[in-house]
């Protein structure tokens, strides 16, 4: 099978993205990006606000996400729920999402409904209205959401604890949905204050993707978003920074609902920065080399194949953030291997990787896949458009986003090893064990049966 194993080169250079991307700004400061895809008569409008959970004031955790929910209540022109109902009546779907660095609202509809979507989205940028009743009911919905997505899921609770331990001072330490005791206290005034300060055209990016003409989008955007007044004096985000980490951080969490124990470690890592994405690109390769496909990754080969101590092992990197990125490792041991042994095996494998360096064949395969991904991603323009929105809200420029595939393609094995030596520093990390509650585990099983 020699022929199959030899690398196929997807052209000599990166394929040129087929998606046409254009961008411009309105006079009030709103940035607009248009991603064209004329294969289907569909359009997705997303408005991204450069504000998220990491911008909340202490004691008000969850307000960015709570406001996101309240944005579906009424405005001066629309009654509560009318926006979503209108989208649905037009055969579309809509939703919103909040992260630490951004909050975004989208509608996916037939391309000829774009003007209506813009009219409604522009309306709620400044015209939000809500009653005390709306706020009280929606707070219960958010508490139910927290119940469902966090409090019922030991993995989610554990991630929340890990994150809180990782950041001592930065807003990345809080959960996006908020701490339960603080969600319970969020009120209408909090929501409006946050809204008035951050929801403005000069703090927003409009991304329109699909079967549209950029000139038409421009004229529509000028009509609907153009007249909205900007917030005067809105500064770039400057958040509290982390003090030096002086002590290794470790935690053990037990929960009766855990069946498969695991160890995870998260290191603070360099993030993508405007004009400077090369370290982040090297870390992307490091994550794929160590923890991509289990059968080919360094950790997978060592810990699942050669000396099978793990049922699952992975590495991941998140560098798309305003302030700090993170690099993570996880190992779930096979029965009979303790978490302590698993961690030792993981550390030994990382140490061995630092000695041996990059497997050049594996590195070539990743480069091949990178080039192919630029072809495959043209089939999913929404995902491409989402990438633009995320990248721009964290402060990257259109040029940075366009250059990213080339920056990735330029990474060398030496770059990867240099980045690895910088990131693998335990005094820059938090390590966590998630385990079953031994005492009540058997009791729990009886109840289930």
């Amino acid at each position: 099978m020699k022929t199959l194993l030899s690398a196929f080169f997807i052209g000599l250079a990166l394929p040129v993205a087929a998606a046409d991307i254009s961008s411009f700004s309105l006079d009030n400061g709103m940035q607009v990006v248009v991603v064209e895809d004329h294969r289907a008569p569909v359009v997705v409008q997303t408005v991204w606000y450069k504000v998220g959970a990491a911008d909340e004031v202490p004691g008000k955790s969850g307000i960015a996400h709570f406001l996101e929910h309240l944005m579906f209540k009424g405005t001066d022109k629309m009654k509560a729920g009318e926006l979503s109902a209108t989208v649905t009546r037009n055969g579309g779907s809509d939703n919103a999402f909040t992260s630490w660095d951004y909050t975004a609202y989208y509608q996916r509809v037939a391309a000829d409904r774009l003007p209506l979507m813009m009219e409604m989205e522009a309306d709620r940028m400044r015209g939000l209205q809500m009653t005390e009743d709306d706020v009280a009911t929606e707070r219960n919905v958010v508490l139910a959401e927290r119940n469902q997505r966090t409090d019922s899921d030991p993995d989610a609770l554990f991630r929340e604890q890990m994150r809180a331990a990782q950041f001592l001072n930065h807003g990345y330490s809080i959960p996006i949905i908020g701490w339960r005791h603080e969600i319970e206290q969020l009120n209408r005034e909090d929501a409006f204050a946050f809204y008035r300060q951050y929801y403005a055209p000069n703090n927003a990016i409009l991304v329109v993707a699909g079967d549209v003409d950029p000139d038409e989008v421009k004229s529509l955007a000028e009509t609907y978003y153009g007249p909205i007044e900007p917030t005067v004096g809105l500064q770039d985000r400057v958040r509290p920074t982390e003090p030096p980490q002086l002590a290794e951080r470790r935690m053990t969490m037990r929960d009766a609902r855990v069946s498969q124990p695991y160890v995870t470690r998260s290191y603070i890592a360099t993030e993508r920065n405007p004009g400077d994405q090369s370290e982040a690109a090297a870390l992307e390769f490091l994550a794929s080399l160590l923890g991509g496909d289990g059968a080919t990754s360094y950790l997978g080969q060592a810990l699942m194949f050669e000396d099978p101590k793990a049922i699952y092992v992975s590495a991941f990197y998140n560098g798309t953030s305003v302030d700090l990125g993170s690099f993570g490792l996880v190992i779930a041991p096979v029965p009979g291997v303790s978490l302590e042994e698993a961690e030792i095996a993981l550390d030994a494998t990382i140490a061995k990787f630092l000695e041996e360096g990059v497997d050049l064949e594996q590195f070539d395969r990743l480069k091949t896949q990178l080039r192919a991904s630029l072809i495959y991603e043209q089939d999913n323009i929404e995902s491409l458009a989402r990438g633009y929105g995320q990248d721009l809200t964290i402060g990257l420029s259109i040029e940075d986003v366009k250059a990213w595939p080339e920056v990735l393609d330029a990474v060398t094995p030496e770059d990867v090893m240099a980045a690895a030596r910088r990131v693998f520093n335990k005094s820059n990390a938090v390590t966590g064990f998630l385990m079953p509650e031994i005492a009540s585990e058997d009791m729990q099983k009886d109840a289930v049966q």
Partner: protein, 439 residues
């Protein structure tokens, strides 16, 4: 892996087909190869890759007695070594070609989804053929994947969602394959051998239960040649499918105590077959009751009362049964109240029916939403293969919206009265709900 979820996906695909003028441009061709394989093809040459979808009817329901989980484990091990490549060699070869293969096992089918580049299509398909025709099922590979499956099975025992769904499945279907987890149990999976994998392989992947669609940068003759090379040597026939089973959901509440801040609630009763002439009105009714954010259940349970983050209902037509299902989670203090709201909604359906306005809104939504699904090679390939499995013709895409628009209010309310049965609505609650006990 989970019967309810996987079949919901299949049901959605079946109803999706629809057309607006815009989809006149989706030209679905049907080809039959020399080896007798029928496939649907949409040529789309603007991006140099092809999405190929293969489905085999039967799925995990073909597990032999005492071997529950064998087809699930077999599908998960297909990619773990084939012909002269071991698991790692296979993965390296696949990655060198930048091909993407997914193997999955569902209640009524197994699926193979592949995407490959035009520039190395022959090599990618040759590699896929090795996985499909010459899997090795090495002991080490079977053991490694078995370890992952056993870990999942163990995790399911402490997952409220899994406990709810397996409890409701067991109530509804008993000893029928639909009544137990397709992943199998710790006991059955621990006993599976490489030989069982080979047997499961010849039972599940057979030509007369095969459905194929392809969308992308490939022509009719190229696809025909590809399919014969890839699948022509599969066995022709498989074992008999399991018999029909009527869901035994007759009402009542079953509480499974579980320490967690909220209760997971699943509810359901008998449903409607996909090929029933009333399926379209039933589908519209479900959209109104629990299909969208604007549905009655979402409005009553979430928007007006704040009792849940989300609630939905589904028509689930299995190959050999059919149910109506719903699901939500609520804080333990308000679970009983939320269940009462759901029961009230079921009663209101029968007492008051659905209004002309609701029907019109649902028609507008459903006929408008159709086109939005056909938005990429991979999604279109998936829709097309789902249509074939549901016995729909290619032109269903063209007249599906007419079928929706033709439903009258009288039709709809007649079907509602036949389909929805307040006294049979059966609830499974996993949690520590206040003021609620099994009856």
């Amino acid at each position: 892996m989970k019967p309810f979820i996987s079949v919901i996906a299949g049901a959605t695909l079946a109803i999706v087909g629809a057309i607006s003028p815009v989809f006149a441009q989706i030209d679905v061709q049907e080809i039959t190869t020399e080896a007798g394989i029928t496939a649907w093809l949409v040529e789309e040459h603007s991006i140099p890759f092809t999405a190929l979808e293969l489905r085999f009817k039967g799925g995990t329901s073909l597990d032999r007695a005492g071997k529950r989980g064998e087809i699930n484990l077999m599908m998960a091990t297909l990619e773990e070594g084939a012909a002269d490549l071991d698991a790692q060699g296979f993965a390296k070869a696949r990655d060198s070609l930048a091909a993407r293969f997914d193997f999955d096992a569902n209640t009524d089918s197994v699926s193979i989804s592949a995407r490959f580049l035009t520039e190395n299509r022959d090599e990618a398909v040759a590699l896929l053929r090795m996985a499909i025709m010459e899997p090795r099922f090495d002991q080490a590979a079977v053991d490694r994947v078995r370890g992952q499956v056993l870990s999942n099975i163990e995790s399911n025992t402490t997952s409220p969602n899994e406990i709810a769904s397996s409890t409701l499945n067991a109530l509804a279907f008993g000893d029928h394959p639909y009544g137990s987890s397709p992943s199998g149990t710790t006991e059955t999976v621990s006993g599976l051998t490489p030989e069982d994998m080979s047997t499961a392989h010849t039972r599940a992947l057979v030509k007369d239960r095969l459905y194929v669609s392809a969308v992308g940068d490939i022509t009719e003759p190229e696809l025909a040649e590809l399919l014969d090379g890839l699948l022509g040597d599969l066995p022709q026939f498989g074992p008999e499918l399991p018999p029909y089973v009527a869901p035994a959901l007759t009402g009542g509440v079953t509480v499974v105590p579980f320490e967690t801040p909220q209760s997971v609630v699943m509810f359901g009763h008998s449903g409607i077959k996909r090929d029933d002439p009333d399926f379209i009105p039933a589908y519209i009714a479900n959209e109104i009751i629990g299909g969208t954010r604007e549905s009655r259940l979402m409005q009553e349970v979430r928007e007006k009362r704040g009792l849940t983050y989300g609630i939905g209902s589904y028509l689930v037509p299995y190959a050999q049964s059919e149910v109506v299902l719903g699901q939500f989670s609520s804080g333990n203090a308000v679970t009983a109240q939320a269940i009462d709201v759901v029961k009230d909604e079921w009663r209101k359906l029968i007492d008051d029916g659905i209004s002309a306005e609701e029907l019109e809104e649902a028609k507008t939504y459903l006929t408008g939403a159709y086109a939005l699904r056909f938005d990429g090679n991979a999604p279109i390939a998936s829709i097309l293969v789902g249509m074939q499995m549901s016995g729909l013709e290619r032109d269903y895409i063209v007249h599906r919206n007419d079928l929706v628009n033709a439903v009258t209010l009288d039709d709809l309310n007649r079907v509602v009265r036949e389909l929805y049965k307040p006294e049979e609505l059966t609830f499974v609650v996993v949690g520590q709900p206040d003021d609620l006990k099994s009856d």
